[in-house]
């Protein structure tokens, strides 16, 4: 999770009731990029990235562009979680390559349900892609 607001980190964790999820948190894009650059094996890459749009130093879209250039992160699903619900920003985020866009400025219960749905969908997709990969490796 790349999120600069500590309150929102807490709320997102609460919304996900993240007992079975292992969530690492970065306060800004740069520290996340530095950390991801040190990944040596595909297994160490995250299954999914939650990214805030308004971050100190570098905004979410710029962070996403940089993340995509890092080995093992080219195809990792990235979900934008932000307070802004402006159409232009949503459009821009999807153009940059996010897989989902969830606004925080709604009713908390609604936010929680939406976020869980989007995350579960992408985690399942990643899981089935991994499964397909390992099966084709076995076959070959």
């Amino acid at each position: 999770m790349i999120e600069d607001n500590e309150d929102h980190v807490l709320l997102i964790r609460q919304a996900l009731q993240s007992g079975d999820l292992n969530i690492s948190h970065f306060q800004d894009g740069m520290s996340a990029i530095q950390n991801f650059k040190e990944i040596k094996r595909g297994e160490d890459a995250p299954d999914l990235i939650l990214l805030d749009l308004k971050l100190p130093g570098m905004d979410g879209c710029e962070v996403l562009k940089r993340l995509r250039q890092i080995r093992f992160l080219e195809c990792i699903p990235v979900v934008m979680v932000t307070t802004s619900g402006r159409k232009e920003e949503i459009r821009q985020a999807y153009k940059t390559g996010v897989c989902g866009y969830v606004t925080k400025s709604e009713d908390f219960d609604e936010f929680s349900v939406k976020l869980k749905c989007v995350i579960q969908y992408w985690l399942k997709t990643v899981e089935s892609a991994k499964l397909a990969c390992s099966e084709s490796e076995k076959d070959s």
Binding site: N5, D7, H8, L11, T83, S84, K104, S105, F108, D109
Partner: protein, 328 residues
């Protein structure tokens, strides 16, 4: 020396040649004409030839001067036009940059105002659900009030942001299928309409309109939304939407009629001002910005908006909007 002063001086240098040359030329012409007309030769043939030569020379010089003067004036005007165009371009650039700065500023404010609201909203909801059945009636009421106020604050920020964008951000103008817009909006309002048992009926044909689709949708949404919200409790709540020819050429007059709570005469103009709400409407949630947004959008598009209403009987809101080309 200022630029305008310099150009004034140039003007003064150029202009006095012409009356002098024309005066001299006319004097000689009249003298010669008079001499030949009366069959006399007062000045002698050689003198006449010399005079004609001088006249020709004078005319050539005057023509040259005239042409030079025109050329120099044209050059000066061109330079002035180029200068003014450059100044205008610079001003435009400055304005565009300022606009960009304002947009960025508003964006930042919007984000920074929303972030704490999201936190309060989130933590209040979590607390409320965790405390659940242990809360007494009063405490539950306090939580509801916290959440209602946060919702109001969210709407207020959203409306103020929208208001600040109208007219400042250039919107794409296009031909708009009015019926489709209305059908989409009715679908959007359906849950609230069902809750209040209101029906919306389109009473006339609608031409295609021209303008910003987003803004036209906003006008309809705010007016229809208000009609639904302030419907009150009539026996058969209904909203009718229609369209007729406007007195203003190229415009249609759209009306939205309801049989809701109505508005007293003294508030019928005030409600279009920012944060002004009629006392009858206070029971319903609202920021008092919606109709101001409508007024700003409609007037920017060249039209007008007004209301006719009778308390307890309902209101009819009218606005004018541009028709698409070729629409009767």
């Amino acid at each position: 020396m200022g630029r305008s002063e310099a150009s004034q001086n140039k003007k003064k240098k150029n202009i006095p040649f012409f009356p002098l040359i024309i005066f001299v030329g006319m004097l000689f012409t009249v003298t010669l004409w008079d001499a030949y007309l009366h069959g006399t030769d007062p000045l002698g043939r050689e003198l006449v030839s010399s005079l004609i030569l001088i006249m020709g020379t004078l005319f050539s010089i005057s023509a040259g001067l005239f042409s030079w003067s025109i050329e120099s004036r044209r050059g000066m005007l061109e330079r002035q036009v180029n200068e003014r165009t450059r100044e205008l371009n610079e001003k435009n650039q400055e304005l565009a940059e300022k606009n960009q700065e304002i947009e960025q500023f508003i964006h930042t404010i919007s984000h920074d105002l929303k972030a704490p609201i999201v936190s309060i909203q989130g933590f209040a909801s979590i607390l409320k659900s965790e405390l659940g059945s242990t809360l007494n009636e009063g405490q539950t009421n306090y939580f509801s009030r916290i959440l209602t106020n946060l919702k109001y604050m969210n709407s207020l920020i959203a409306d103020l942001l929208e208001l600040s964008r109208i007219g400042r951000i250039e919107e794409e103008k296009e031909e708009v299928d009015t019926i489709k817009v209305l059908e989409g909006l009715v679908a959007e309002l359906k849950p609230e309409m069902d809750r209040r048992r209101v029906t919306i009926e389109l009473k006339t044909e609608f031409p295609k309109f021209f303008g910003s689709r987003k803004r036209l949708e906003q006008v309809f949404l705010n007016l229809l939304g208000n009609a639904v919200k302030y419907i009150g409790t009539p026996e058969c709540p209904k909203i009718e939407v229609g369209c007729s020819e406007s007195r203003k050429s190229g415009f249609s007059e759209i009306w939205i009629r309801d049989n809701g709570i109505g508005i007293k005469k003294e508030y019928q103009e005030k409600i279009f001002q920012m944060f002004q709400r009629a006392p009858e409407s206070i029971k319903e949630e609202g920021t008092g910005i919606g109709l101001n947004i409508v007024k700003k959008i409609v007037e920017l598009n060249g039209g007008a908006v007004w209301v006719e209403s009778e308390p307890g009987k309902g209101s009819t809101f009218f606005f004018e909007w541009t028709k698409a080309c070729g629409t009767l």
